[in-house]
């Protein structure tokens, strides 16, 4: 059996699964030290299923700790940045657009080195070993333990970044090195930003992975554990230690993957309605569609794999205001719903009260709500709630046709009518623990994103080698080559580019090697 755990800001959810069946799922509070909460959640899910820890073959964990640490600028490591690009790119030094407080937290230790590539793979300047060595000795002297290496067009050829890594590890064997080519896509600034972010989490990732490992040992679970990443696939614990940044959006991703699993749908729109917002995302081939535009995290622009999520201000705690123009949200009473909502004896009219008054659900003091909320308000608010969800669904759709919609999260009680644009509406059982279930069913993935010249090798050969590269990455992440599946191919021609230069993005997934 496998256990999926989702560590959220408020709750730590756990789900025990046997093959394709959910045996049990629980919610328990997140704790300050994380590990205690994880232990608690796993204990109680095993207890509910009346199973022994020895039945667990794999543990999958989703966590928001790294995102929170970066956004809150807490427990970040000092970072050295090596940019192999001279004489190019001098007009934009690393961390140019970063918030000052963040730069203060990780330092501005920048080392400029000759090197980099043109889009067609030619070297801008040859690799300069001497310069790298000088920089590394400086870094050693400064006592910096995390290094980010970046280079122009490294997604096309990571060779120079790799050679720099060799030299660094040779000089300072236990330093943590992040290569930008291993994380990001085309776009020097965004890719380098992601690498620096990743380096800043070097100490924390070692500690977090260590604490998860310890928690499992305490529970008597000897099975390997994996951590879920932004795109809904898994990384081995060692891999997360090296690339913590890839977990940044795993929360919404796991909930979408859980929704796919619980509903049995691979192509659908998922609406996850919580207390304050509804997160709307698109499932294609059972995976969340990725955002194609740069994403801002903690004030830093990046372009790594993130799900395309539209968040709208509608949740169970959304405040309903009666007046000439009746409004629902976008502000919410949030976790205070259970004190301030009308159904709970409070005096704020919330979206949940509307659902109660309409008779969708029996929560709290139903009679009080029915007395306080006039029918006219119920009707008007329900119209707005449904229209808000319909608009969000429509914005995220990829074609004109109606699509199935899966509702998850506690706020799904707000929806009781058909939705325009939805061919069918699913509200699966256990949808409250969709996150943990999403973690438990995750597969491993691999991705390529680089420029190919169709004029030289032809489109078919280029696509084939892109797929091969993506598969190699999946295998190194623990994937089973027998179960490869291509889930996304995107071709983006470079305008004004010679030789039919096309940027190709390929993503594959596979099951974990058993």
């Amino acid at each position: 059996m496998r256990i999926g755990v989702d560590v959220g800001g408020t709750n730590t959810d756990a789900a025990l699964m046997d093959g394709a069946k959910v045996v049990a799922s629980v919610k328990s509070p997140t704790t300050e030290d994380i590990a205690t909460g994880v232990i608690g959640a796993i204990r109680s899910v095993l207890k509910e299923a009346q199973q022994d820890p020895s039945v667990v073959r794999t543990v999958m964990i989703g966590t928001t700790q790294f995102t929170n640490a970066f956004v809150e600028r807490k427990r970040l490591s000092e970072v050295a940045v090596l940019r192999l690009a001279l004489p190019a790119t001098q007009s934009l030094p690393p961390m140019t657009d970063w918030p000052e407080a963040l730069v203060n937290a990780i330092g501005r230790n920048i080392f400029w080195i000759e090197g980099g590539y043109e889009f067609d793979g030619r070297e801008i300047m040859p690799f300069n070993e001497r310069q790298v060595l000088d920089a590394v000795r400086n870094i050693k002297k400064l006592g910096i333990r995390a290094v980010a290496v970046s280079s122009v067009f490294s997604p096309i050829n990571p060779e120079m970044e790799r050679r720099a890594q060799e030299i660094i590890l040779n000089e300072i064997p236990d330093v943590k090195v992040t290569l930008a080519s291993d994380i990001g896509r085309i776009g020097l600034v965004e890719r380098e930003n992601a690498a620096i972010m990743n380096s800043s989490l070097a100490d924390l990732s070692a500690r977090v992975v260590g604490s998860f490992r310890e928690a499992l040992i305490n529970l008597g679970i000897t099975a390997p554990f994996y951590i879920s990443q932004n795109d809904g696939t898994l990384m081995s614990a060692d891999y997360v230690e090296r690339y913590p940044v890839l977990t940044f959006a795993s929360g919404p991703t796991n909930s979408m993957r859980g929704a796919a699993y619980l509903s049995g749908l691979k192509e659908a729109i998922v609406v996850d309605i919580g207390g304050t917002t509804a997160d709307v995302g698109v499932l294609t081939h059972g995976f969340p569609r990725e955002s194609s535009v740069p994403v801002d995290i903690g004030g830093v622009r990046t372009n790594f794999r993130m799900p395309d999520i539209l968040a709208v201000g509608l949740g169970g705690g959304s405040i309903v205001r009666d007046g000439e123009d009746l409004t629902v949200g976008p502000d919410s009473v949030g976790y205070r719903l259970i004190r301030e909502g009308l159904a709970f004896g409070g005096d704020v009219m919330t979206a949940t009260d509307i659902a109660v008054a309409a008779g969708h659900v029996q929560i709290g003091d139903v009679a009080r709500v029915k007395r306080l909320v006039p029918d006219r308000v119920v009707d008007a608010a329900l119209d707005i709630i449904h229209r808000t969800v319909e608009d969000a669904v429509d914005r995220m759709k990829t074609s004109v046709e109606d699509v199935p919609v899966v509702l998850v999260g506690g706020g799904s009680i707000l929806i009781n009518r058909d939705l325009r644009g939805a061919s069918e509406i699913h509200v699966p059982a256990r949808s409250a623990e969709a996150n943990a279930i999403g973690a438990a069913i995750a597969q491993v993935g691999g991705e390529t994103d680089r420029v190919f010249r169709y004029a030289e090798q032809g489109r078919d050969a280029a696509l084939a080698s892109a797929m091969r590269e993506a598969e190699e990455k999946a295998v190194s992440a623990g994937g089973d080559p027998e179960t490869f599946k291509v889930i996304d191919v995107e071709e983006l021609p470079l305008s004004y580019g010679p030789g039919d230069a096309v940027r190709v993005r390929v993503k594959v997934v596979s099951d974990l090697v058993q």
Binding site: S91, L92, T96, F119, D120, I124, V189, Y496, G497
Partner: protein, 369 residues
């Protein structure tokens, strides 16, 4: 930015300026993000950029445009080099046998709006409040300087390594073709200085006041968003009061239902289709070749090049480039007329509909329907 008769561009103007430049990019011109960052970096050192009104330009001044040429995607990796732009400029000055007095944008739309400002900030050179395209165009002969008789040559192409290539071409189109092949060899994007002109040439051939227009458009969009108003109303009002009045029209309000793209001859060619929202009915379609070229409503032409066709986000008013179009976006399509200098027969022969192989005679935006 107006400061006791003198115009200066300051750091706090940059967001507005690049937003306006993206609007004037009419779907193309490259993402000005990188250009803004470079400029911000340069201005953080304390530099301001002096903007020179066309009227204040001396007739015998040497004015030179500097720009990036090539694929915008390459510019997001091998970001523009201030040194290389400067080298290209120096080479033009050497050929002219005198120092450069002022810079001018070749193209106000997209990333190239920022290049002369960057060089101006570093070298303390003023930048003339005008440009040669009034928008973005895909090729360097598509500028009013050339249309009205200024030769493109020498086109100096420079890279960050220190290579400098001077192209002296027999005509402006040939200048584009030869420079383009050098740019490809230099890695798909390179730095250029070209069209050396006298102040008198610039006054006779440039499109006036486009730097301030970009800044104003950017500010109008931001202010409208903050006040939850419709930006097109303020835009309309603003351009109607310009010294050379222009027209702004909302051509359509709708939702993207289809985007088609392909590469043809090194260009990003395609179309976007919209369905109406609110009172807007029917099917709207915009065809693009890097930039938006022509817009049809139920098959009838509503606007065409060189008039500007810009898609903006319906909620935020933020301009959207053709690379970022996707199904489901709510957009307004806004048309902005170009001044008469861009509508003469010789201008239209260089960048009118037929120059883009569109089988239409040009009809000005304000005369359609």
């Amino acid at each position: 930015m107006v400061n006791s008769g003198r115009l200066t561009l300051r750091q706090e103007d940059l967001q507005d300026f690049v937003r306006g430049a993206a609007f004037l990019g009419t779907g193309g011109g490259g993402d000005p993000y990188v250009g803004r960052l470079i400029l911000q970096q340069e201005m953080a050192k304390g530099a301001e950029v002096r903007i020179l009104p066309l009227a204040d330009l001396a007739d015998d001044a040497l004015v030179v445009p500097v720009a990036m040429m090539g694929a915008p995607t390459v510019m997001t990796e091998k970001v523009p080099s201030i040194e290389a732009l400067q080298r290209a400029l120096d080479e033009v000055a050497r050929g002219a046998g005198r120092k450069v007095d002022a810079l001018i944008p070749l193209e106000i739309g997209g990333i190239n709006s920022t290049m002369p400002l960057v060089v101006g900030a570093r070298g303390r050179l003023p930048v003339v409040n005008a440009d040669g395209m009034g928008r973005a165009f895909p090729e360097i002969q598509m500028v009013t300087f050339g249309v009205y008789g200024c030769p493109i040559s020498p086109v100096v192409v420079a890279n960050e390594l220190g290579d400098v290539v001077t192209v002296r071409a027999v005509n402006n189109k040939q200048g584009e073709d030869l420079a383009r092949s050098v740019v490809v060899r230099m890695g798909g994007a390179a730095h250029i200085a070209l069209y050396p002109m006298t102040g008198a040439d610039v006054k006779a051939t440039a499109i006036p006041d486009t730097l301030t227009l970009a800044l104003d458009i950017g500010r109008i969009i931001r202010t409208a968003r903050a006040e939850r108003k419709r930006p097109e109303v303020a835009l309309c009002d603003h351009v109607s009061r310009l010294p050379v009045p222009r027209t702004v029209k909302v051509l359509f309000d709708g939702k993207i239902v289809d985007v088609r793209r392909e590469t043809k001859g090194g260009f990003n060619v395609g179309s976007v289709s919209l369905d109406g929202i609110a009172d807007w009915q029917g099917v709207f379609k915009v065809e693009f070749q890097n930039e938006n070229l022509i817009a049809y409503h139920d098959g009838a032409v509503r606007a065409m090049v060189p008039d500007l066709i810009t898609l903006v986000d319906r909620e935020t008013g933020e301009p959207i480039t053709t690379e970022c179009l996707k199904y489901g976006q709510r957009v307004k399509v806004i048309g902005l007329s170009v001044p008469p200098i861009m509508r003469t027969p010789e201008a239209l022969a260089t960048f009118g509909p037929r120059a883009f192989r569109l089988d239409h005679d040009y009809v000005p935006l304000e005369e359609i329907r």
